[in-house]
């Protein structure tokens, strides 16, 4: 949005540069002029939305997965609920939470956290289950207790799978968080929705905010790949 608080129907379409008023494909000048008041803050909000959602999602999914790993009967119910939850369109889920938490960032986060659970839980489970039985037997033979087997053998070997889950969760959350702007102007979806409401959709705003969202997703993914290299010291083909 070029001017907060509305005003006339076509706020400052006429005040823009010839590039903006002429509906050119991309106006670099506009991006530089509005980085501080539009794109920058939206990017920061988007990073906050994503980090909070993935952090809380992991904090819930991790103990749940340990629980399901210990009591195998719980896994199938968790899995089915998760798969069904994932089919709820985000546009609808944001709205369906409004009677409980209002039009607030909490509502956005509850929805985003739910989607991360659906991705993280099965990936953590898959990682724990991928540990070869003879490795666990060897550990037990060396006298490790059940708890020691979990923390010293199973979890370290599950790290690649857990990070794979985190990668999907982060990238998906960045994408879904753009839709949160339909509920509350927050994150990179806001400039896009604002641009769509102009009489002629403002291309520069759509493209720049869209590119930022894609770049954020790819950057976060790269960070997690780097984290994997730090945490996983054994060669890839030995997994």
């Amino acid at each position: 949005m070029r001017l907060a608080g509305g005003g006339p129907v076509i706020p400052n379409f006429g005040q823009g540069s010839s590039c903006v008023t002429g509906d050119h494909v991309f106006c670099w000048g506009w991006v530089k002029a509005h980085w501080g008041d539009t794109l920058g803050p939206a990017l920061v909000q988007h990073i906050e939305l994503t980090l909070i959602a993935v952090a809380i999602g992991f904090a819930i999914a991790f103990p749940l997965a340990l629980l399901a790993h210990r009591y195998h009967r719980l896994e199938q119910p968790f899995g089915t609920v998760a798969a069904l939850l994932y089919t709820i369109p985000s546009l609808a889920l944001f709205q369906l939470l409004v009677p409980f938490t209002g039009i607030t960032r909490t509502t956005i986060e509850v929805a985003l956290v739910s989607y991360t659970l659906v991705i993280l839980f099965p990936n953590i489970m898959a990682g724990l289950r991928s540990v070869p039985a003879d490795v666990i037997e060897a550990a037990q033979g060396m006298g490790l207790t059940r708890r020691q087997v979990l923390w010293r053998i199973e979890l370290p070997l599950a790290v690649p799978s857990i990070i794979a889950g985190l990668r999907i969760a982060v990238v998906s959350t960045v994408a879904i968080a753009t839709i949160a702007a339909t509920l509350l102007r927050d994150g990179l979806g806001s400039p896009i929705l604002d641009a769509l409401q102009d009489p002629i959709p403002f291309k520069t705003e759509i493209y720049s905010a869209g590119l930022l969202a894609v770049a954020l997703a790819l950057a976060a993914d790269t960070v997690l790949v780097a984290l994997r290299h730090v945490l996983v010291r054994w060669p890839r083909n030995a997994e």
């Binding site: 069904l84 369109p89 009677p99």
Partner: protein, 231 residues
């Protein structure tokens, strides 16, 4: 929208009343959304499935198949729809193409993996019996690839149906029209439409899961319902 609208759980009662009062309107909107989804799914299938199957048969360009799935995840649907709107204008075509691109990723990746991953021994045996490349594809690789091929179609269909409501911001119609227009329909209408969207998506998900076990060759059947969306 008033404050009372927001804070009150009775809004759910109003939402169901809205559904009860406007069944024809909601059905019409739901049908718009189904039409758009079907068109997008068909377009995606026509492009992605043959390409994935042929590339898988020749075991070539695996990077394209992997790239398609990464692209599909990293580009938000809202961005895709908004970007296509600036190119194709408001309306059906823009949304159909944007949704089809979303569906292409999972279909291409799974079609490639499905055919590429067919047991080499089975393929070699078929060749040894004198089958041509086309016969191997039609009689060995495709039947064995069906479960994974269908998984791709299923993921694409669920993704497209779940994303279609967002098309409302770009003139796509459908139930999303109601959800993004709280000024006209109030919170009750928005919630009512959200319920319908949710039911529609869950219905498509369950129907396709049932269809999948029906089309899977007998020897390959196993449960697929509880599997993670990430796999």
């Amino acid at each position: 929208m008033t404050i009372a609208d927001v804070a009150n759980l009775h809004t759910f009662v109003d939402a169901f009343r809205f559904i009860g009062d406007n069944p024809h309107f909601l059905l019409e909107k739901a049908w718009q959304q189904i039409e758009l989804s079907l068109a997008a799914l068909a377009l995606a299938a026509v492009v992605a499935l043959p390409l994935g199957v042929v590339l898988g048969h020749f075991h070539r360009f695996s990077g394209l198949a992997i790239g398609a799935s990464i692209f599909g995840r990293a580009v938000p649907s809202l961005v895709l729809i908004a970007a296509f709107l600036t190119v194709l204008g408001i309306g059906f075509a823009n949304n159909m193409v944007a949704l089809a691109i979303l569906g292409t990723g999972p279909m291409l990746t799974n079609a490639y993996d499905a055919v590429d991953g067919v047991d080499r021994d089975a393929v070699d045996a078929a060749r040894g019996m004198g089958m041509t490349g086309g016969q191997v594809l039609a009689r060995i690789e495709l039947p064995l690839a069906i479960p994974l091929l269908f998984t791709g179609i299923r993921i694409a269909a669920v993704t497209i149906v779940a994303t279609a409501p967002i098309a409302a911001i770009a003139g796509g119609g459908g139930l999303g029209d109601i959800i993004v227009n709280q000024a006209s329909y109030r919170l009750a209408g928005v919630l009512g439409a959200s319920f319908c969207v949710m039911l529609l998506s869950a219905g498509v998900f369950l129907a396709l899961a049932a269809l999948q076990s029906a089309v899977t060759p007998k020897g390959l059947r196993r449960s697929t319902l509880g599997r993670a969306p990430s796999s």
